[in-house]
Symmetry: C2
């Protein structure tokens, strides 16, 4: 095992010459053998242990075990206690996710404190195979199928090619014991089922399954890294033609790159979202909603990722009182002659509307209205399109409703049932909101 770890460290240039390495030490077989092995190989190691505050006396015994091990080996040791349960409740995460975030933050703090340039975690080839299977049955792409990265920033995984079996052999040979964690914090229920049912079945068929899967992961990682390096959009927009002409493998990565630049939470981005953005490259216009209140927008020959315009809710309307609707000021009035020239107004038959249930809101996909002279109702979507109002502008425009009915839509006009000249629906773009708000309509 020692040779294999040494080869892995060399292969991925994990540890710069003379650099100090911080080992995350839980007390389990994997992390104990990692610490021991790096120590035996002559690296300058220190260790840290986080008590997640979840398992009471057992956790205290784990910490004592780790402390004693490091004392015996004269390895600097840091320990801390946190409350993963409380963090999970507060951030509405699973305990596993919260514990993981606390742990990596703790690793970073400790590395700073002891001047470690690298943080070693004890993930093995078995963990890697679990991760690959986990992603395989979830349908994630090559990045997920490539398993656990041997190196990610300052995090290194020197045991990534070592099987769990080898880890235990290594410790038994040295008469070194370890602690067994009954809860296995790092593993969700699904992962535990993969570990306890699927992996033994695969190992039964092919004893070297985990080692072979590690080789496969390394090849997939090479592929993925190579493709990632080939597409660096480097911004939040790209020409639709460029996206359309790329091989699909590159186009989907180009979209991911734009999403990252636009600050989209990538954990929530799946194939469906990527496909929706790619579909824009084959359309004339359109938008696609994205996680984190982002959207993709096709405008002319460009596809751009941008924050969603602020959602404008429904706003109640009282006649003669201008109210703000997103970037607009709107008002219902009988005094057409008093309307300020900066307002666009749509004349209505004031007496046909029920003034106690007036509101403005943004358009909805099933909205329809009948214009004067038209033969029937048509969708707002189509009416906007005919007037050349781009999809991204439509969401901001106010639609005047009376009860559930559409009276008028800014940019389009007034429904035939409400046409007249005894009042008006007045709309102004709120270029200077504060000044206008006090002004007369």
């Amino acid at each position: 095992m020692k040779q294999l770890v040494h080869r892995t460290i060399e292969q991925y240039a994990m540890i710069p010459d003379g650099a100090r390495v911080l080992c995350g030490l839980s007390g389990g077989a994997d992390s104990v053998s990692l610490l021991l092995c790096l120590h035996e190989l002559g690296y300058d190691v220190c260790a840290c242990h986080l008590n997640h505050g979840l398992r009471g006396a057992q956790a205290d015994a784990d910490e004592a075990f780790c402390r004693a091990l490091c004392e015996r080996l004269a390895i600097p040791f840091y320990a801390e206690v946190c409350d993963a349960g409380a963090a999970a409740a507060q951030q509405k995460q699973s305990v596993e996710t919260a514990a993981r975030a606390l742990r990596y933050a703790f690793f970073d703090r400790c590395a700073q404190k002891c001047g470690a340039a690298r943080i070693a975690t004890a993930h093995t080839a078995d963990d890697n195979l679990e991760t690959m299977l986990f992603h395989l049955i979830r349908g994630t792409g090559s990045a997920g199928l490539a398993g656990i990265p041997p190196v990610r920033g300052t995090i290194i995984r020197p045991l990534i090619a070592v099987e769990r079996r080898q880890v235990e052999e290594y410790l038994v040979q040295r008469g070194q014991d370890w602690r067994t964690d009954a809860t296995n914090l790092d593993n969700s229920c699904t992962r535990n089922r993969i570990r306890h049912t699927v992996i033994p079945a695969l190992r039964d068929i092919e004893p070297a399954a985990a080692r072979h899967a590690a080789q496969a992961a390394a090849l997939l990682r090479q592929d993925n890294d190579c493709l990632d390096a080939l597409v660096q959009v480097g911004g939040t927009s790209v020409s639709a033609a460029r996206l359309r002409d790329m091989p699909e493998a590159l186009a989907s990565r180009a979209v991911r790159d734009m999403l990252v630049h636009a600050g989209t939470p990538m954990g929530e981005v799946g194939q469906r979202q990527i496909a929706a953005v790619l579909a824009l490259a084959r359309k004339k216009s359109g938008t696609a909603s994205l996680p984190g209140r982002r959207r993709a927008l096709r405008r002319g020959n460009e596809i751009r990722i941008e924050p969603m315009p602020p959602e404008t809710g429904q706003v109640e309307l009282v006649p003669e009182k201008p109210v703000r609707f997103g970037a607009y000021l709107v008002c219902i009035t009988r005094k057409i002659q008093d309307i300020h020239s900066s307002f666009k107004f749509y004349p209505i038959a004031y007496d046909t509307i029920n003034t106690v249930c007036l509101s403005v809101r943004r358009w909805r996909p099933d909205d329809r209205m009948t214009l004067p002279g038209a033969r029937g109702a048509r969708s707002l979507k189509r009416l906007y399109a005919e007037r050349g109002i781009a999809p991204e502008q439509r969401d901001a425009l106010p639609v005047l409703c009376c009860g559930g009915e559409i009276v008028a839509a800014a940019g389009i006009g007034v429904d035939s049932r409400y046409c007249g000249t005894t009042g008006a629906f007045a709309v102004a773009h709120d270029a200077d909101g504060r000044k206008k708000r006090g002004a007369k309509v």
Copy 2:
């Protein structure tokens, strides 16, 4: 299922407009539903069935079932009987491999006969997941992990996104029965174990495992196709610098491309062979053995794949009789004055050699000899290198042995124990073998 099959056919442009499709029909649920579904979707289908000659009466019943089904649907039907067992024995293959080769050859013949532009096989998402797992635990790269290709040449797999569960539902809904093959010709023992133990465990964890794995396979295939398209060496040689400067994902594909061009049997090429060729890019010279009697050769700044030079066995030698050794003529003679000027000769002490056990052979890695004046024995490898004889030339040069001892080596000289001037070891490059053979030395 019908919609899913239709979408798959569209997505991969599987069937050109109006083209006829030949279905491989075993009588099992997968192929029966494939035929039925293509028929219902309105494609012009025909079907063929190969009786592998392995299961007697049961196989005859399968054929009768397929024939009846096609008659009822008025679909042209072709059947043939072969002897897969005999073919396997003759070609020293497993019965599965032999049956597969016979089947695909039969498909090609039938497609020709009935004018089908495409051959549809009934591989499902479950087959694909099995293939992916099979390759995962064997450590193959992205091409293998990408599973079963939806399209390969004229072979198409319209059911590749369909789960086996859906196939059976589809047939049950239609009241269509199918045959159950007890031996499952297409599956090796390993594959059957994956099918019967691992897949059910995965489906237990994630019911949509096969469907998700099909998505993952499609993404990996995009990646792999994109990378393959990026590196087309297009020949059997490449500059070492170019290979060294490529990302590893491309370099390994460049090597594969060269191996294909050199006619190497790719089924026998693994990561180890690829790595050996890549290693040549970081050396000054060297060779690497490859399957199919091919080798990779570093010469100057070039890496080339070429056929291994013909192996020259050991050739017995009788004094005064010139014999052929590969591209050389060699002879042991007492008559130094008679040696033709086209021969290079190495003077020896004739009486020190036992003339009844003389032979010439090519050098071996553990060969050593002591030259006159030298302090001790040195390896032939080193002596060749000192004389500037390139590695690829060494294999052709004759080494003269007496019993187990080396007397002399062409290109180097005579061992100190056999030095003298009462005879000679004469060697000529056989530029015109036939003329020289009759000639005097």
